[in-house]
Symmetry: C3
Subunit: 449 residues, 3 copies
Amino acid sequence: MHTPASKVSGYVVLMIVQIVFLVLFWLFVRYDKSALPARLDNEDAGSADEHVSKYPQFQDIQVMIFVGFGFLMTFLRKYGYSATGYTLFMAALVVQWSVLMKGFLHMEGGKISLSLESIIDADIAAAVPLISMGALLGRTTPIQLLCMSIVEVALFAANEYLALNILSICDCGGSITVHAFGAYFGLAVAMMLRPSSDQNEAGKHEGANYTSDIFAMIGTTFLWVYWPSFNSVLAAGTGGERAILNTFLSLAAATVTSFVVSALVSHENKLDMVHVQNSTLAGGVAVGTVCNLLLGAHGAVLIGIIAGTISVLGYRYLTPCLTNNLRLHDTCGVHNLHGMPALISAIASAIYASLVTVDSYQSELQDIFPAMVGNNGTTTKIMGGLGRNASSQAGYQLFGIALTLIIAIGGGILTGAALKYASFRNLQKDEQHQDEQYWEVPALESKEE
Amino acid sequence: MHTPASKVSGYVVLMIVQIVFLVLFWLFVRYDKSALPARLDNEDAGSADEHVSKYPQFQDIQVMIFVGFGFLMTFLRKYGYSATGYTLFMAALVVQWSVLMKGFLHMEGGKISLSLESIIDADIAAAVPLISMGALLGRTTPIQLLCMSIVEVALFAANEYLALNILSICDCGGSITVHAFGAYFGLAVAMMLRPSSDQNEAGKHEGANYTSDIFAMIGTTFLWVYWPSFNSVLAAGTGGERAILNTFLSLAAATVTSFVVSALVSHENKLDMVHVQNSTLAGGVAVGTVCNLLLGAHGAVLIGIIAGTISVLGYRYLTPCLTNNLRLHDTCGVHNLHGMPALISAIASAIYASLVTVDSYQSELQDIFPAMVGNNGTTTKIMGGLGRNASSQAGYQLFGIALTLIIAIGGGILTGAALKYASFRNLQKDEQHQDEQYWEVPALESKEE
Amino acid sequence: MHTPASKVSGYVVLMIVQIVFLVLFWLFVRYDKSALPARLDNEDAGSADEHVSKYPQFQDIQVMIFVGFGFLMTFLRKYGYSATGYTLFMAALVVQWSVLMKGFLHMEGGKISLSLESIIDADIAAAVPLISMGALLGRTTPIQLLCMSIVEVALFAANEYLALNILSICDCGGSITVHAFGAYFGLAVAMMLRPSSDQNEAGKHEGANYTSDIFAMIGTTFLWVYWPSFNSVLAAGTGGERAILNTFLSLAAATVTSFVVSALVSHENKLDMVHVQNSTLAGGVAVGTVCNLLLGAHGAVLIGIIAGTISVLGYRYLTPCLTNNLRLHDTCGVHNLHGMPALISAIASAIYASLVTVDSYQSELQDIFPAMVGNNGTTTKIMGGLGRNASSQAGYQLFGIALTLIIAIGGGILTGAALKYASFRNLQKDEQHQDEQYWEVPALESKEE
């Protein structure tokens, strides 16, 4: 059944990809001048310190990507090596690819400039295929996952460029460009890889055990505590502090709400670890796009309450429905954690954009909604309001999420088709949700312990 | 026996609390001006950066609260969902409540100002009921815990206001206002909820297993490494660096001492995980109140040695005695980790306060012991020493801890009585220390694995 | 067989060591002036802020030492208490010892100056015996480990002083002075403690189980994400940003390579958790010595690819060979994670040093290669190049690693001999790789769960 030859060729392709990266780094990438020694004849150095002031936030995001996502997906009882291992593998591949891809979109003089910002962007990009991986968890080979991530990150970079640089939408915490994109791309791939109708029941290993559920809480708690860093890292000016405050409050409100709604809708009113592990985080996604806006504490809390509620209801009612009717198996429920909350965030961004005034945002309008300021961006122009008006910006926000959905779903369908019909090996039913097919797993130890 | 109706009404009450919070945020809370865009006609912004310079320390404290406390309490073998889950639930509720409560005590113009400082204070406040939860672990319903935390945080805010603003005691790392308060409040509640004398033996699930003990070490190690951030976050001037150094050294000395004393007093001289998980941290508590003072490295190390010794001896001899004689079940031994070390810290603060001279603290006397400086606080006044003298400040330190104990124990007794006799459901003996009553728990998987 | 008396005397010795530390702190250690209040008559304080700007990186390194190393070593299925516990014990002892030892080498006026830098250095020093502990894991008593760490850290401090201050080699991330030293010292001790030839088969507890392997991934992922902090914390100027970027890229490339090579060389092309847990980190070690140099992105990626490859091949082929032929049991494979990658780093440093020009490093030459600048270090001298030339610096780099190997291996042999033949108790074959000998372990719980 299982042919090592297919594995070997897959891994060899990935090695070739790594070597191609090496060559591209050599040809195109140079240190940014912030990372180069100041010239002796020009002693005004010291800008380096300023440049790395976002380093602590970068490190927080590192933990979210490598520890947070990895452990969040360890909840399956026989898939912990894969959850933590493929996260590491995929993120390590994607961060390099992102430096190159995003670099190609912003080249200067034919060279890509490498700085702390490049690797912050790279970590954010790594979140995208990791979200998609959640929709597919246990149903693909590692080769499929890795190949998917390469295609997906290229499309993500293109869509992000369109949304932020061409459409000029606001998306400070990336709920549109990162969470919605990753979730719907992954769901589209999952749709293409869905089982035949006689194979639609849950796999025998598709469940948690007591220990694996607690491992998953490592992921949940680290994602929770560091989410304000994810949302605020790209914010400018005082928007950074607002992003921290709004994200914190939205997460707190979503958490309380998730617990309550989980208990109210569950069997015998017992709390469900799936909701606790995931829906508590929905507040971070739902506030993402608008986190640097003037929401007020109540705005952030309200968004959190809505997100927590919808996320738990999604897990409880929508996911089983999608599985049974569409054979869409969303293993981690990314639709409930990333998909729907991101849609909420996009809608919220249209509402708040429609309320923007120069008077409220003052000097920061230019940073947050650059298209609302005249082309040359002077103070006079801001006061004069020669740019896009508020309701027009609201329309662009909705256009941005629509475009993202189209590219994500379209790209996901094509990628899924390629993964299914190209020469990739597909997992059989009984090979799913367990590590043994691709990992050396210790023999059962129950006898001796 | 078990009536879902009681659960439903409890959770509904918590939802109402969340909605009341929403309304209060809407009515009273506004962004601090550090989080508001600078006016266009006043371009001297940039103060934002300075304002968020404590952000990395805030994030460290976030990890302590959500990961540290949560995992430290996973040591019970069948209570891991509750330990990590209720920590998340309680902290998410309390942080919102703290922003409001502490805000009401410092309103300006009828509004509460929201800034990074608010949420740093909120995370610190969340530690208080989490400490109390340790004394009660496994013996209450989640509804009881959450209701307790609301009352407790209100009392904590009042006591802290009295101690710091009225009595002007020093308590940089919060050992008096946070640790002593949380521990003795929790112990008083536990006293009220103590079992009848024929039910006093240990519950059948009240113990660790090999895996749960290692999960608990996640909590221990993160609390250990980030404790210097907890103690130093509110320190001003060079006191911040002293707080870091003193906390680090005290923790290190307490750790070495805990291991040695654990081995010396244990059965067959074997190390005991309870001591390793908890007493190693006692150095952080015991140095808390005095961490920004001029202890010298030897002072910090000496405090650590004393704390480690007393904490291990407390676990080994005092806790069993309290359980057997008073039926006081302190599940996590918070008396040994937080209670007694906090008393040591309070006594140390009286000793060090009695030695304070203007010559030693110079310009920082005002920050650390404001009452020792004349009312207008000018340099001349400091030199002249018109304020409280050193032995008087020492007396106030002791008065501060005494007041804290009275409020904590009194409040705890009343709260415990309410939890016992009001319409709350109480856990029966065989429902304790296990998740199953309030959580969906996977069926035994031993057959298939 | 087992005499508690030997344990008691060992622990008593450690307590005496702690008390000696207390006395030495009292006699010799004083706060650095950055941690002392500014004098009232000299109001130019505020330098404190600058002084603690490395605090976030310090905290990252704290996590690496206490969480990263501790959990990385939990992979043995019955040795998790020891892995996390002894890491905490050893690190707590060593950080104090390091403040003293490194302080004695840099005293001013007979006093040791205590500042944030002291404890950054202390955490780095703690890595050294923790690396050695990896080579010995499960084969020593805690008393042996702790005594070893005291000797080792003294030798480490001496060797580091020779290498950095006398030979003036560059070693920004410590691959020569920390990783090579720790690995080869540990291997030399392991060689001295090797079993007799009739006892050479693997111990019955020397293996992972499913849960312990996932615990180990906590260590791996935290070491991975914070490694850029370890490598960059001592870098000056723009070298800090380069150290971050180079370490990040090298780790990413090593990770992708480790996965691919692991699959290609393993049985049935399955991934091996040993490689995933360890070899993915080899990129951080291999780039360490040169991380602040002008490697370019391609240089960092190339070093990562080489390190990942060699590390996996080492685990697959070299380690079994050493075990079978030399009876050298390197439990964690520190030779593959720290030893060989550190040698790669040393060789790379010689190559890059030989290419250094004043034109490329400009004003930073003095920080990075001080010996290449004339004695008085003026700009004129740099331009004139009156110091050591590039190929001479390359030679010193090689001399530095050679000296380090000699001191590490020589010191390890002597220390190992002392541990074996002095009055220390040695573990018997069946006492190895399990906690029970030195820890209270819960009784088997399989019956009731």
